[in-house]
Symmetry: C2
Subunit: 348 residues, 2 copies
């Protein structure tokens, strides 16, 4: 038999709004005692007893935050959850619930939204999150996803961007710059594909950095680890816009300065080799690339012994008095002011 | 002096994302003790002690939910808050915080977003809500607003869509159909304007219905009133999609049937006269028009004496056993099954 390449697709209009929500969310399970009422009423009802609640929201727009020519919808659904959970973890909190709203044009068949929700469901399962609400609507063009994440934290355990003190150590989890370099590879492949749609790309050598771009993870494990190590950071933020931008946030909110050591910035070997291939400075990528979803935090020097042996953590600098300013100390031992100039202007 | 009609507009790119959020939210004040940390960190932190929390979210898309040719941006900002608060009140809860995310194309100058946020700020002030977070991003086309609202309710005071019992009375607040007829007038004026841009519309006769469309209110007052009257509804929902659709939701969730009396449906005289002018059946408008943001609820017959003298409430029917079905009892005393067919098919 000849394969039917034009499989029947289901039009969204066949289901209607209520039918669509029911269909897409029917597999979502409730796991948290705090979720009293989930999808299906005017609002969700949550009960956190005597804990504090943290709330964050992010909007992902097609053509701005993602390109469906290389971002599979399942990965997009997964990533849209991750970017929000990362903000909850950056408060030293446990993520418990999300709401997911999407606006979608009628160029997407039902099967596309099923893929998107499969990714959302996978993230919800892995991170143990209840999906408790949302809204599904049509858009005149493109796809847009709005996620709100809710979490809980024991009183006095919450960590803000403010709170860092001079002489505190600046610590980062994981490694930096990979998501940005993954994007560069994907965009190069897209250009190659445009010229020759039959080309078969071999992306084996870029597997780590592409995964960091298409299927990032949020550092839930770090929140547990910090608790187990009995370390409460003095300030914390997640790295979504790039190390420079996040350091500036911590310093401004905490009213301190900072020395960041270039040689200490953790880079994966694949980031280094791909930067060489693209003739891009790897430090610049780490500082300005963004989308790493690692955690950046400060701790008292007294806590150094608790984290020093752990491979998840790299001490990359220390905080100073505000008037000392924020500087990158280069390998050549020169000091360059840290600015959030964005990618293009950084070397200007 | 000749008036300068080309006032200098500020491009969004001049401010950058962080500057834009700071600029637009600098006037927002915090009024709730439960708001521990607001805009400016990875997430907001809220503390509700021993109350339950309710959460709802809605997405408003240009070209789908609003038309900027007759919807002023300030009103749009106001309405985007109202539609969410209405869902919180429909849980018998108090609204306390919102997050607001917008995606906006670069055809909007800063001044347009200032108008939008002025409307959001006005709604926040009038309804005593703290704006605690959000996201501002670019879009490739048009404007999109995503609002998440959070509220609190004393334990056991929450009211769901389920809970109505046979013989319970069906009660609605205010009057119905006005927002839909306001939209019809505005769309007619838009067509007139296209033909003759110099026409000066006289909309005096439609002031109430246009206000219901452009600047709706949510029934915060009803939640207080029900408490003062010591009435806890057995089920409740807000009227966003039209009376038919909401009755079906209550009946399905509560596993009951319903008789709705056509002659009891509350209509404003302006709705009746405009329906006559447009040659549309006013009952059909009330049943299917939507965007009324009134509350629809059921109460035990024992509570009837508490609400009967109050002009805010109209008893429009009563609940029956599920097998009796859901019916509209017409003025001619015939029974028509209630269906959520949407506007166009209702008379088919």
């Amino acid at each position: 038999m000849i394969e039917d390449k034009n499989q029947q697709k289901t039009q969204l209009s066949d289901l209607g709004e209520f039918g669509l929500i029911d269909h897409l969310t029917k597999n979502f399970k409730i796991n948290h005692k705090s979720t009293i009422k989930s999808i299906g009423d005017d609002a969700a009802v949550l009960d956190f007893k005597d804990k504090k609640i943290v709330v964050t929201t992010d909007l992902l727009v097609e053509g701005v935050h993602f390109d469906l020519s290389y971002m599979p919808l399942k990965h997009l659904g997964y990533k849209s959850v991750i970017v929000n959970l990362s903000d909850i973890f950056a408060m030293n909190a446990k993520a418990t619930q999300i709401t997911v709203s999407i606006a979608v044009s009628n160029r997407f068949p039902l099967e596309a939204l099923e893929d998107l929700y499969a990714g959302i469901e996978t993230a919800a399962k892995i991170y143990n999150i209840d999906v408790v609400g949302g809204d599904t609507t049509s858009s005149t063009t493109g796809l847009l996803i709005s996620v709100t994440a809710i979490g809980e934290v024991e009183n006095n355990n919450e960590v803000y961007r403010e709170g860092a003190k001079p002489s505190d150590l600046l610590v980062v989890t994981g490694d930096l710059g990979a998501a940005y370099m993954g994007l560069q590879v994907l965009e190069r492949e897209k250009e190659v594909y445009k010229v020759n749609p039959n080309s078969q790309p071999d992306l084996e050598a870029y597997s780590y950095i592409i995964e960091r771009q298409l299927k990032p993870e949020a550092r839930k494990d770090i929140i547990k680890l910090l608790k187990d190590l009995d370390v409460k950071p003095s300030s914390m933020i997640d790295i979504s816009d790039g190390l420079s931008s996040e350091i500036i946030h911590l310093c401004k909110h905490s009213k301190v300065g900072c020395d960041l050591y270039e040689e200490k910035i953790p880079l994966d070997p694949q980031v280094i080799s791909t930067c060489e291939e693209f003739n891009i400075d790897s430090t610049t990528v780490a500082l300005n690339g963004g989308e790493d979803y690692e955690l950046l935090f400060t701790i008292s020097q007294d806590d150094y012994s608790k984290i020093k042996a752990n491979p998840n953590f790299t001490v990359i600098g220390y905080m100073k008095e505000a008037q000392a300013g924020m500087h990158l100390v280069t390998r050549a031992d020169t000091k360059i002011p840290i600015k959030a100039q964005g990618w293009k202007n950084f070397n200007a």
